[in-house]
Amino acid sequence: MDKKKRDRDAGAAITGRLSEDLGRLSVLLGGTADLNASRGFLGGVGWAAATIEGMASTQLLSEAVLRPICAMASGKETSAGLFSLISERAVLTTDRKTVRDLNEAAELMFAGFAVIFVDGAAGAVAFGVQGYDKKAVTEPSSEHNVMGSQEGFCEALRTNISLVRRRMKTPQLRFESLKVGKSAGTDVALAYLFGRADKRLVSGLRKRIEEADVDTLLASGALRPYLEGGRDVRLFSEVSATERPDVVCARLLEGKAAVLIDGTPFALICPSMFFENFATVDDACSKPYFTALMRIVRLIAFFFAVVFPGMYVAVANYHPEVLTLKLLLNLTASERSTPYSLFVEMLIITLLLELMKEASVRMPKAVGSAISIAGGLVIGDAAVKSGIISSPLLIIVGLTATASFVIPSLAQQTSVLRLVYIIAGGAAGFFGIAVVSAMIMTNAASSGEFGLPYTSPLIPFRRKAAADILYEHKGGEG
């Protein structure tokens, strides 16, 4: 603890003089309007209960804490006796802490605790009577499945911890509580299975979280660059995000670590491998041959979404002899009538696609159908009928768009890399495709912040684990 902090804590120590302590608390919080402090006397000793408006449940406070205290207190009490009653003898809530300084008291009040001060006692007792409004546990909004759990994380950290704990009833499951943010002090929990997770991984993550240089953590994405070591030159991230507690549990069982952040329903998992993006929860519930088929379909979908448009432009513009005759004749007939070159058409339609995707995410639900009409009819059908773009191109872009929705976790990379491939293929044919592919492959293959290469278990090849790429290996680790 550094000297400044010691000095600060020394100045914030609870004196036992009730009025003074309450006044200093108010000054510490800047006279904030949501500070509630109610005072009273019990057995002749003054007391005060301080809470933050909306964070503590007044009903729980009065019924579970104050009423029992009043019932247990005798007609004549001393300060020490009353303090001892509240802090030790009365079993009121399980979540009870004794605080000695106002900073700690303020932190607990912001976490929904009610802090009881006793006149004459150089301390206070905090009771966990959280009553703030929080979202209920609902279905995950971004990761859907058919046969798995329909529960997703919510914004409350403690609820999220309980969702994981409920699924893994083992003492090896550990949660380390950390704080991130110079101003806000957001609660963060580092979860791992003791004995299974690599100690270096856990200590490395802990260090990176503690050293994260942020003011406040409003979304999980804000912590991600720090977990990745601050190196944002990588195209693919070794830290994945999930809304599903069952996915977190599966990854913890593989020896990975998860970071749960208060205020966001997305948990971060590290390290994450490239091929994990092609696995879903339904795979564990399906037959291995079906799982293998679906994983191959997803891999093909990724290829379609990223490389196919660029390859199409390269082949059609530079190497049309690669296509079969009938296909080429159809393409020629279609492209002859359009005003722009194939390269320009592909760029236009890809940008339109991104525009529509962004609009569908941002728009209010009420106008959702309008976007469908605008996108499907106006842009799709009318553009083809008027000859601005050709039908084969629309088919390809439709296929690409559908394929890109198959792997939502790689949506960012899919969107950007698709454009890069289109530009490379249109500018320099297969030569450009090769150059871009080499750069992307080395970029992806060089990731390996946490000791495990991103392209593992395929490169470097681990036979047992490599089978997991295609199907769930029953009864074994990943």
Binding site: V233, A316, N317, Y318, H319, P320, E321, L325, L328, L329, N330, L331, T332, A333, S334, E335, R336, S337, T338, S341, L342, F343, V384, K385, S386, G387, I389, S390, S391, V420, I423, A424, A427, A428, F431, G432, V435, V436, M439
Partner: protein, 376 residues
């Protein structure tokens, strides 16, 4: 590593597009389906059959009711110059990547394929497997024939050649084979334009529109033509073509005549294998080829023929065909069966001692053929 590299490379790739001759997109070039080369004075007349995309807007369909090919031709001292003149006439660059067939008119010989096909061998688009064929008369007439309504004409020619070759009626040849023939001369299928009268038109048809031609155009295969180096080309009949195709393993089946008692009939004989054996003794090489064929047992074979007799008859027929081809080969001093390749591979010293002289090679080789036919 700074991200600027990525942008730098992307920009550089864009620049790679400049300075290229083919800045015109390939889809905007004229699609050539077939090429015809005729001799004209001291040069060549090249006829190109071009695909014409029809319709407007992007809802373009290949309209089966309309002809979608047309021809353009030009004459010049060399094939390459003639093609450039054709481009000038078309107003577009040509795309020969999907050229299906190349027809050589009378008087054009693929003896020096590196010279004749220089344009096609040099181009990165052209396919080495493009079929070659010889035209009886002018190649340009064949390419201009309206073979049918709506289908791609060159595709039709290709199908005719393929089916004929599979049935042993002709010998297929592609550009690579022509370039690569070695001692065996290029043997090209011979195509001929024929006409067959159409059925009588109904009175409604007569009165409704303009009068249509009363003859439908057909292309037929009339055996093959061999082009030995330094000699006159000569024709091969169906029988010789069948023998050569079977021995080389290029034909799949052949219809052979067979008598079922009194009336003539025919049976389909399928190619099974052809094993080559070669021995040298005293400077003479004996090349033995054992051709095995199969007759599939079916109702007709069971009812109309007796198994052993049928096999014997078919074997005799096959030997007769092969012997006829061998006689022609020796008469013309031409290695029709590709024996030179076998000798070159197994007896390189003998090959070298012949010095590339085909007649000397044939003199030093004794060919023996055995045909086996089994009903299975």
């Amino acid at each position: 590593m700074s991200r600027i590299w990525f942008f730098l490379i992307t920009l550089t790739l864009l620049f790679a597009a400049f300075g290229s001759r083919d800045t015109i997109a390939s889809l905007d070039r004229a699609m050539i389906h077939a090429v015809g080369i005729d001799r004209e004075n001291e040069g060549y007349r090249v006829t190109l059959q071009v695909f014409r995309p029809d319709g407007t807007g992007s809802e373009t369909q290949l309209d089966p009711a309309k002809a979608n090919v047309y021809t353009v031709d030009a004459a010049a001292p060399s094939v390459e110059q003639a093609i450039v003149l054709c481009e000038d006439k078309l107003g577009e660059y040509v795309f020969i990547g999907h050229c299906q067939v190349m027809l050589l008119g009378e008087g054009v010989s693929p003896e020096e394929p590196e010279r004749l096909f220089a344009y096609f061998l040099r181009s990165k688009e052209s396919y080495l497997g493009v079929r070659l064929a010889a035209a009886e008369g002018k190649a340009s007439e064949l390419l201009s024939a309206e073979l049918s309504e709506g289908t791609v004409a060159a595709q039709n020619i290709l199908n005719v050649i393929k089916r004929s070759a599979e049935n042993g009626a002709t010998v297929e040849c592609d550009l690579l084979s022509a370039v690569n023939c070695g001692s065996c001369p290029p043997i090209l299928p011979l195509l001929k334009k024929t006409g067959a009268p159409k059925e009588e038109q109904s009175s409604d048809e007569k009165s409704s529109g303009p009068e249509k031609s009363s003859v439908s155009q057909l292309i037929s295969v009339e055996g093959a033509v061999a082009f030995p180096k330094g000699k006159e080309p000569f024709r091969l009949g169906r029988g010789e073509c069948a023998a050569i195709s079977l021995v080389k393993g290029k034909a799949e089946r052949l219809m052979l005549p067979a008598e079922d008692g009194e009336k003539p009939s025919a049976v389909s004989v399928e190619f099974s294998s052809c094993r080559t054996d070669a021995r040298e003794s005293g400077g003479v090489i004996t090349v033995s080829k054992r051709l095995e064929t199969v007759i599939r047992r079916d109702h007709t074979v069971d009812v109309l023929f007796r198994g052993e007799e049928l096999e014997q008859r078919c074997q005799e027929e096959l030997i007769a065909l092969i012997s006829s081809a061998e006689r022609l080969s020796r008469e013309k001093g031409c290695d029709l069966f590709g024996i030179g390749t076998t000798v070159r591979s197994r007896f390189p010293e003998v090959w070298r001692s012949c010095g590339g002289d085909t007649e000397e090679l044939l003199r030093r080789c004794v060919l023996s053929f055995e045909a086996v036919c089994r009903v299975k």
